[in-house]
Symmetry: C2
Subunit: 582 residues, 2 copies
């Protein structure tokens, strides 16, 4: 095996084309073995095996710098840069990471950022009067993001070496959406000769390579642009999922796959058959869309959030819009639609909603248009990669005026909130989808959430009141139970439901029989929900303990370890209560 | 005067071309009279007089919907839509505003949002099976913003009426920057015939009008696209500042001008000659740039933040970069540059920094690169328009891990912080520029801010401790003084300096001699600095009162009224302290 002898890019530079071809097969097999067991980004990596080998063959990393957009396609790069064994042992992160290797320059996982970051490297290099290649790889899907465009617009004005490789596999996570893509198609079909060329329009030199999975062609193309003295776009045509039939046939599913059977490609666990909040959302949406032709589902490149099957998506027609990876547009689009009398529901991961803070504030909330946001994967049970953390939604969303941010605990509560949000036309509403499983409600839930900031007292006790937000409500229940065992005292347990305001009448009333108020939130403490409660009680005799996550970036964390590190187990909190009293 | 008879767009539809031409002169005179007295967006409005008249002549507002990007060019639109007298009396806002008129559909003031908002109107119209024109006006400057591109990319895929007018006046606020602009130039020079056309590349139908200040040509062009059944770009060439020589000669200055002498165009107050934080920043930067060729000033379309003269900008050459209106790119670019060994300083208004929350988190702070941000116009003394409020920076910035956000009080302190930030290479650092005037420090200031979160006690007293952030430090001084008069007690006064962490040692120590801690911050309370202090003292005997701005959107507020409404006068706070004790 050649791969066994490659401990740095230097080790592949003396290989023949035939040997490199064998190497690409070996790498593909390693990828499939690893991904079928542990899951990961299958399609993007299979499609980039040859291009990555060719890059390391032609360029001199880390002197020459390779920057991968999103960096979910860096598995081959990791295998070639001294991380082979760590990769096989599942010890590397799924994204590029400067802490892992001198061949990585940024930790990145959100799309469309690579060109701007690279522009910075180019500028610094030129100021320092150094000479090396800066090579940026960005997929066609990422080109719909505004940040990529802003980067291109600036990059085109540079007067020095900058090589941008557009890895065109004709897919985003799902299929591409946007006017841009007909131009990429025209460029592919004309082998780059189409005169109306978005890259040339932005001022770039441009080259096209049709055989983006052919090592000889890639090496030739990379050699042709190496050491170039100006910015250039090298547009390469690759196949997502290359070399693995199931990933080619079902490109969307294999963009990121959970563990799968290597022979058949069948997922080891079929999530679509398990009740989950994606499916629940999709089913309610379909039902409501039948009643209301102006109800629309919006996604920005992650259509799976609604749990629709491909057939359902097709059937929804005009009532389902994928705007591509374009979160800013999605929010403004939803606001405009709500203003025009439509009922938009934008389903989005919390980590990506960050990309549209200003649109939430300006386009949506200043205008107070009644769009609905369904916010997924927030809290500790979200995504444990540092670039996809779900801890920051409460600080960035709940402090924007006019927005109503709801945190349901139960399945029926979530569905009732969503139904209410769709039906009302008074507020912009966001709903924080629970991430601790689908829990049925023990009793009937409210159907009207129009009386804002009304917390729900589910158990009335004394001394200690616990206000437990959303996914941490069950932690609240455990604490109440354990505290009862330890002290004999029934604590009060509250589901606040609203993250954007306080139930001050209730907070006042709690003072009568309680001396300690505890808040539990599945997010960072700084700027979060609990601090608002602490502020409210600032001058009262009541004491407040806020529990949540410490403000810091953590990567690939273990949920239980993270909870324990933040004193977020029932035992720890009860210990704290007991030591408060004694 | 024709303008006197126009109370709605219907009143101009029967005017002849000659009469409309006279009307345009009348409007231009009204604009100049008003703007020379009160200040405002001069150039953008003068350039749009004819186009706005023609729009209202051809289209049927408000059935047909006109959406203006940024909406700082809507003065003529306001004059023609029943707000003439209110405009003359300076009673309308400077931006479009649905509360003012049924002819306005959104409150907007940040650039590049109009296309996405309009896409939403288009989608809602089509779902409701209604028929009318949706006309979006966007300037060439705004096209560098990623949100505009995301909107274009989506809009081009629509199959129904959508008219996007690109108002190309060959200027952003300052001159344009970006590869895009060479394409616009090529399109203008070829009268729209250039085959490599960014709009066509995105999939649009396209028309070009060279005479964008000629009423007859505009009317003809608008009639030609009215009721079109698909999206189209109508690219019109206009002159910024049209009809007023000083605004044509000095386009950047007259983009937005303070009151000026109508005859000469000279500003009534020359801010460049008054010591201010823009000039101070620029001067320090120039000095430091001489020492360090890798130090770079970055702006995203607002070069005036550094207070450089045009000659200085020219002289800085490669050490000053205007990336155009592209805040996302600016932050990622700065991060990349810092990673590459450059020392980037990005000067930006706080309200626009909102546009790059995700880049701050992902591109900058996860990567922990030592870029420097200088954040202007934060707090109540920032900009009083609802779309430009400076209240929200503390919640959105200070809760991002790894960032160090500094709030200086004094001139020397600000300069020392900036100097430290530039020289250090450990942290991403943001500095909140004071907005309550340039105040000299009464004593020597620290030069090293590397020991994070060290608050400074400037007056040691007892009972009450006041932690007064940045621009509100002087309010803290007044309170201490007044409280001493009323109670005879010397309170403790603290300049916290750091907004991203607490000096817990000091907070613990304060408990000894104080029973009341007061925080004062020039920003919204929710998610802000004071709440962190309240959380910290949650279980202690010390009481906390947090003072700041209520979380809500306010428009064209009076500073003193806003302060009083939030109990932010020294008298009110002292009243509260006294009533706390008695």
């Amino acid at each position: 095996m050649y791969i066994e002898k490659i401990n740095s890019p230097a080790d592949l530079k003396h290989l023949s084309l035939e040997q490199l071809t064998t190497l690409s097969s070996e790498i593909r097999q390693i990828l499939l073995n690893e991904l079928s067991v542990n899951g990961g980004h299958v399609g993007p990596n299979l499609g980039m095996v040859e291009a990555t080998i060719a890059l390391h063959y032609v360029f001199n990393s880390p002197v020459d710098k390779l920057i991968f957009d999103v960096s979910h396609q860096t598995y081959t790069h990791k295998l070639l840069t001294g991380r082979r064994d760590a990769f096989i042992e599942h010890k590397v992160t799924g994204f590029s990471n400067p802490n892992e290797s001198e061949h990585d320059f940024f930790t990145l996982g959100h799309t469309s950022t690579s060109i701007s970051l690279s522009c910075g490297l180019v500028k610094a290099r030129d100021l320092k009067q150094e000479k090396f290649n800066i090579v940026t790889l960005i997929g066609d899907g990422a080109l719909s993001g505004g940040e990529a465009y802003e980067g291109l617009d600036n990059a085109a004005t540079f007067k020095s070496n900058m090589i941008i490789i557009v890895n065109d596999n004709q897919m985003s996570i799902a299929e591409n959406h946007g006017g841009l893509y007909q131009n990429l198609t025209a460029l592919r079909e004309s082998k780059g000769a189409e005169p109306c060329n978005i890259f040339k329009a932005l001022g770039f030199d441009y080259q096209y390579l049709d055989q983006g999975n052919d090592l000889a062609s890639l090496i030739k193309a990379f050699k042709a642009v190496k050491d170039i003295d100006h910015p250039i776009i090298l547009h390469i045509n690759t196949e997502k999922g290359k070399g693995y039939e199931p990933a080619i046939t079902n490109k969307e599913h294999f963009h990121y796959s959970m563990p799968f059977d290597l022979k058949t490609g069948a997922p080891k666990i079929d999530l679509t058959k398990i009740e989950n909040y994606n499916n629940l959302t999709g089913q309610l949406m379909i039902e409501k869309m039948k009643e209301n032709p102006c109800l629309i589902g919006i996604t920005s490149g992650t259509p799976m959030v609604f749990g629709f099957t491909a057939a359902e998506r097709e059937k929804l027609g005009k009532q389902f819009v994928d705007v591509g990876i374009a979160e800013e547009h999605a929010v403004a689009f939803a606001s405009g639609m709500a203003k025009g009398g439509g009922r938009p529901v934008y389903g989005v991961y919390g980590t990506f909603l960050q990309r549209t803070y200003d649109q939430l504030s300006q386009d949506l909330c200043i205008n107070d248009n009644p769009a609905v946001l369904v916010v997924y994967a927030c809290g500790v049970h979200g995504i444990p990669d540092v670039t996809h953390l779900g801890f920051f939604d409460i600080p960035f969303l709940s402090n924007i005026p006019n927005l109503v941010y709801l945190a349901p605990v139960y399945k029926e509560e979530y569905l009732a909130m969503l139904e209410w949000a769709i039906q009302q036309t008074t507020y912009p509403v966001a709903i924080r989808v629970p991430t601790n499983g689908v829990i049925p409600a023990p009793k009937a839930v409210d159907t009207d959430y129009g009386t804002l900031n009304k917390f729900q007292v589910n158990q009335t006790g004394s001394n200690v009141a616990i206000i437990a937000v959303g996914s941490f409500y069950t932690l609240g229940e455990s604490i109440v139970k354990l505290y009862k065992e330890k002290s004999g005292i029934d604590a009060t347990l509250i589901n606040p439901r609203y993250l954007t305001g306080l139930d001050t009448a209730l907070l006042d009333q709690l003072k009568e029989k309680h001396e300690l108020i505890i808040t539990l939130e599945d997010g960072v403490l700084d700027g979060g929900f609990g601090e608002k409660v602490a502020r409210y009680y600032g001058t009262s005799e009541v004491k407040v303990m806020n529990y949540g996550i410490k403000k810091e970036f953590v990567d690939r964390y273990d949920v239980n370890e993270l909870l324990a590190a933040n004193r977020l187990t029932d035992k720890q909190v009860v210990e704290d209560i007991l030591s408060f009293y004694y």
